[in-house]
Amino acid sequence: MTPILSVRDLSIDYRTRRGPVHAVRDVSFDIAKGETVAVIGESGSGKTTLAISLIRLSPRSAKIVKGQILYTGASGTTDIRTLPEDELRAFRWSECAMVFQAALNSFNPVINIWEQFVDTARAHGMKDPKIVHARAEELLDLVRLDPKRVLRAYPHELSGGTKQRVLIALSLLLKPQLIILDEPTTALDILTQRSIIDLLAQLKTALGFSMIFISHDLSIAAELADRMITMYAGIVVERAAVTDLFYRPRHPYSVGLLRAVPRVSGVIGAVASIPGSPPDLIRLPPGCTYVPRCPLAVAACSEREPDLVPVDTPDHDARCIRWRTVAEQVGTAEVAVVEKIVV
C-alpha cells in the first residue's frame, strides 16, 4: 500500500544574518494510511520547521533546499513542494489540515468562534452559511463541546482545553486524510491533557485519518503513536515502531531522552539528564552532531555523519555507528530503559 505521505531527503534552511541555519537536513519518513506518527525532539531539533513545511506554511526566510513531499490522495501522488498556489490551497485543509497549539494565540482574538469557522470555511470554498453551521455543530459535538455555548464565545472566554478542542474541530472541517498536530497537549493541565489524548484516539478510530504530531513530550507518543521518529539538530536519528523505540532504542540520544523523563508509575530507575546543550545549527561539525553529548562517542564518530541504517528489529533504523553497543546496553526486553540500563 502506498503511504499517504512520503517525505524524501527533505532539507530546509533559514536565512539569517550570520549565515544559513540548517534547520532540517535529509529527513525521510513514510506515513501509512490511518497510521499515527510521532516526531519527538527538543528545542532546535527542527521538528516544528519540518511540520509546517509539510503544508508549506513556512515563513519567507525558510527555504526548502532539496527533497520531496509526496502526498498520495484520491487523485494520485503529487509533490507538495512543487504544487502551484491554487492547488496548494485546495490541498490544504481538505486533504491535510493542521492543528496549532492552542496556547500560542492561534485564534483571531476579535472574532468569535462561529466567525472563525466561517472564515476558515470560506477560505476553502464552503460558502453557504447554513452548511457551515450544520457542519460546525456536528464537529463541536464530535469533540464533546456544546455548540450553542462555544460558537458564540470569544477565544479569551474559553479554557485552554476547550480551545484545543475547537482547533481540532476546525481541522476536521473538510474531512482531511492527514492531520498535523503541533504540541497538542503542551501547556495543558493533566486532566485536560488526558481528555485531549482520549479524544484524539476516539476520532482516529471513528474517522480513520492519519496523524503526525510533533512534540517534546514522550508520553503523548507513548499514548497515541504507532511509529515514532526522534530528531536531533535537524536530522532523524532514529525511527521505529513505538514499542521498539521505547523499549529497544538503538541511538544514544533516544536512550538519553528516555532516561531524562521521569515516570509516575513503576520504579524511578536510572533517571539522568543529557549533559551539554544542542549544537549551533549554522556551523555544524563534520561528523555526528551528537558527539559532544554522547557517552559512546569514539574518534570515528567525528569523521562523517552516519547514515540511517536498519538495526536488529524490523522497520527500525538508527543513525549511529555504534548501535550494536547501544543494543547490548539496552537489550530487547519489553521493559522501560530506566529499569534495565546498566551503564
Binding site: I190, S219, A222, R263, I274
Partner: protein, 345 residues
C-alpha cells in the same frame, strides 16, 4: 533513605498557618488560597503540585514573602513575618528566595552574569573587595554547575541557554545564603533532557548546604522524582487536599483527586500508559474560582461524593487514621479509614 515525617516537624523553619489569599477581579473576588496550613522543616525537599488555578504559585509567593496573606499567619523560625519591620523583615526576605519559572524573564537583559551576581554580594557585604567578590561569584557558578566559571562571567543572558539561565537564577538566590528556596515551576520551561540535572542541583543544595527546597510544579512525575525522600502536597482550587510522603502518594493516593490525577497522567511508557485504569470523574467541568462549590470543592466531580456530607462541610486536612504521616482532606476517606485509591478500585 530518610523519610521526613510531618509530625516530626516540631520546630518548623517556615510555616503557613490557616493562610488565605483573595484577589479582587472585575467580576468579584477570587479565593486563590483558602485556609492553608503547611509546616516546612529545615533541609527539607517538598513539592506542591496541582493544576492551573489551584493556588500553588500564590502559596509559593506567600512563602517567599512576596504576597501578603489576607488572613492567617506566615511564621519563620516561630515568629510572625508580617509583624516584623525594617531590617528584620529584610532579613526574612533574604532567607527565603524565589526562583522564577521563565528563564527568559528572570535575568536583567542589560546586565552580565557577573553584574547580576555581584550586586547582592556587594550590597550585603558578603565579600571584602573586588577580588573576593569575583571569587565568590566564581564559586557560586561552580556550585550551580556552570563551569568553567570564567566563561560565564561576561556573558549576557541572551547568550545563555534556558537551562544555564535557570542556573544563574539559582546562583543569584544563593548569594544571600538563603535557608529556603521556593522554585516556582523552575524546570517547566526548560528542555526535557536537562530537567533532571536541575532537579539534582536543587536536591544537592539541600544535602550539601541544608537549604530547604519547595518545588512548585504541575508535573507529577517531576514531583515524584524530586520529592522522593520527602513530601508532596496536592492542591485543588485553593485548598491542600493531600499531604503525604511521595512514594505513598504515588502508589496509593488517599484523595480521589490525587487518584484521578495519577490515573490520568500520560506516561512515557507505552505499556503502562495504554493499560492504566482511569478514574472516571462525574463531570469534566472545572468550577470557576469566583463561584466555588459548597462544602468540598471537588464534590461535583468526585466519584465518591456523598450528598448531604460532601456538599455541606469543607473537609479539613486531617491525618488518615491507620497510616503514618499522611494527611487528607476527604470526608469519605477519613471515615472509611482508607485511601481513596482503594475505595475506588
Amino acid at each position: 533513605m530518610t523519610i521526613v515525617r510531618p509530625q516530626a516537624i516540631e520546630r518548623p523553619l517556615i510555616e503557613l498557618d490557616q493562610v488565605s489569599r483573595t484577589f479582587k477581579v472585575p467580576d468579584g473576588t477570587i479565593t486563590a488560597v483558602d485556609s492553608l496550613s503547611l509546616a516546612i522543616g529545615s533541609s527539607e525537599a517538598i513539592c506542591i503540585v496541582g493544576e492551573s488555578g489551584c493556588g500553588k504559585t500564590t502559596t509559593g509567593r506567600m512563602l517567599a514573602g512576596i504576597l501578603r496573606p489576607t488572613s492567617g499567619r506566615l511564621r519563620y523560625e516561630g515568629q510572625d513575618v508580617w509583624a516584623k519591620k525594617g531590617h528584620e523583615l529584610s532579613a526574612f526576605r533574604r532567607a527565603v528566595q524565589l526562583v522564577h519559572q521563565d528563564p527568559y524573564a528572570s535575568l536583567n537583559p542589560t546586565r552580565t552574569v557577573f553584574q547580576t551576581l555581584a550586586a547582592p554580594i556587594y550590597r550585603h557585604k558578603k565579600a571584602k573587595g573586588g577580588r573576593d567578590a569575583t571569587n565568590r561569584v566564581r564559586h557560586l557558578l561552580e556550585v550551580v554547575g556552570l563551569a568553567p566559571p570564567d566563561d560565564f562571567l561576561v556573558k549576557y543572558p541572551h547568550q545563555l541557554s534556558g537551562g544555564q539561565r535557570q542556573r544563574v537564577a539559582i546562583a543569584r538566590a544563593l548569594t544571600v545564603d538563603p535557608r529556603v528556596i521556593v522554585a516556582d515551576e523552575a524546570v517547566s520551561m526548560v528542555d526535557v533532557s536537562i530537567r533532571i540535572s536541575l532537579l539534582n542541583l536543587l536536591l544537592g543544595l539541600r544535602s550539601e548546604m541544608g537549604v530547604s527546597i519547595v518545588l512548585i510544579t504541575h508535573d507529577l512525575a517531576v514531583a515524584r522524582y524530586f520529592a522522593r525522600e520527602g513530601r508532596i502536597g496536592v492542591m485543588y482550587l485553593g485548598r491542600m487536599v493531600e499531604l503525604a510522603h511521595s512514594e505513598a502518594l504515588v502508589s496509593d493516593p488517599a484523595h480521589p483527586y490525587s487518584a484521578a490525577l495519577i490515573a490520568a497522567i500520560p506516561e512515557a511508557d507505552p505499556r503502562i500508559t495504554r493499560s492504566k485504569d482511569r478514574v472516571e470523574l462525574r463531570t469534566a467541568e472545572v468550577p470557576s474560582l469566583l463561584a466555588l462549590p459548597a462544602g468540598c470543592a471537588f464534590h461535583p466531580r468526585c466519584p465518591l461524593a456523598e450528598p448531604g456530607l460532601c456538599d455541606v462541610d469543607v473537609p479539613a486536612l486531617l491525618p488518615l487514621p491507620g497510616t503514618a504521616g499522611r494527611e487528607v482532606a476527604c470526608h469519605v476517606a477519613i471515615r472509611e479509614r482508607q485511601p481513596a485509591a482503594e475505595l475506588l478500585a
